[in-house]
Symmetry: none
Subunit: 142 residues, 4 copies
């Protein structure tokens, strides 16, 4: 099957949370989406603020919508703020231009879904997303 | 604010899935929301269709929005369809008028959040929501 | 690859239009979506009214959202009008409860996308969707 | 209303894709809208990310909405970012401020519709839109 399974999604979330605990980060929230941007699994750490679900989904969903990581979208947003701003209202989860949204691929490069993490700094969020993907034996798009 | 913890939400989801497996139901999706209607945790069983996240959240979120179970909202919708229909666009997750969305309370009757289940018949969805709530040692609002 | 290709989508559209011409139907519009509900290809016959894109996408997208044909959703809507009505605002293309939206699967039963046709009667629309799917060598979900 | 016919729209799409192949561009997506901003035809090249339909429509639709190319809207957005940003939510397809959306006119200067291309750089996208319009024997607004 060409998407992240629920079992894999739960592995990703558990490993991302473990990485956050190891680094003593603020409460994380993690969303795992299928290739079409639809939620497979989500968890919000106790103490996480109310909009964390949308931010996690908007990082992962924006990455799938444009075919690049949310870190790259963050760079695009610095260069072309109104272009990236204009995209937000046009897709289900919006487009969040900050690191932490990472596309997941298989060995052949096919998209299996995406992971979005929020709660700490964007760099730390992305680090936890990558840790989660690796722990599930999957590949983060380069 | 007292609310369902992430650990409790994960217990609810695991127990709801276990009930679904025991009854050989179709793939379930389960959402757990905090008292403000914001997602704590979600899981979509492999094979669940793409809109299951919105339906699970719309059952639980509608229950919190109106202060009654989504089964009761289903009854209201038969009696006053345009009233219930008019509510949908006004809350974040909409209002889904079908059983499977159950408010969770503590011993003092305080609202801790809600659970929404979708995937099989509404009656079976609700049964799994109740099984999940009980397994976590919590109380479903009467 | 686990989705309808653009070449297949164009075959589907051409064959659906050919069926419409053979049966002397009103101008048709045909949308082909990937498994996540995102448009692959669309065509609106000359003379088709302005909302045909949304109706074609809403039939196909609703089918994917709920995992059943838009004909079945039409039956659900008769039995539970407010439930189906409540779903409309919660997914990208809405949910159009009328025949003409058909899920496309492969030999293993995996979802490859969906086709939505509008312009004539719902029964004729569906007939053209099925003709398009068959002409592309694909399978309509039962 | 004079408008691009479906046959012309298909010519535009085929020629834009041919130009993209000739220049070895990334997978393109092409939308052709009528003068009212309603979709006539669309195609997303295999491998194009999920939001390409909205971006192609948003370039073409924004051009029609404001009566200038999306390249000009991109320039406006640099000078008046909040003005252009405020427009996005007010029209069906939004307003995408980047080259690739081109208005199509006849010999008398009457608007027949618009073409929107996305997938590569904005400059290359526009080049393919112009190639498509020329191949169909139509005129790009100056």
């Amino acid at each position: 099957m060409n998407r992240i399974s629920l079992a894999q999604a739960n592995q990703i979330i558990a490993a991302a949370f473990a990485k956050g605990a190891e680094l003593k980060l603020k409460p994380l929230s993690v969303a795992v989406l299928d290739p079409g941007g639809h939620l497979i699994a989500f968890a919000r750490g106790d103490g996480g603020s109310t909009m964390r679900p949308q931010i996690a989904c908007g990082k992962a969903g924006g990455a799938l919508a444009l075919g690049v990581s949310s870190r790259t979208i963050g760079t695009m947003a610095v260069e072309r703020p109104t272009f990236v701003g204009a995209l937000g209202g046009l897709s289900q989860h919006g487009v969040i231009p900050a690191a932490g949204g990472v596309i997941v691929i298989d060995n052949a490069g096919e998209v299996l879904g995406a992971v979005g993490v929020t709660g700490d700094t964007s760099d730390n969020d992305e680090l936890c997303a990558l840790a989660g993907i690796a722990a599930a034996g999957l590949i983060a798009a380069g």
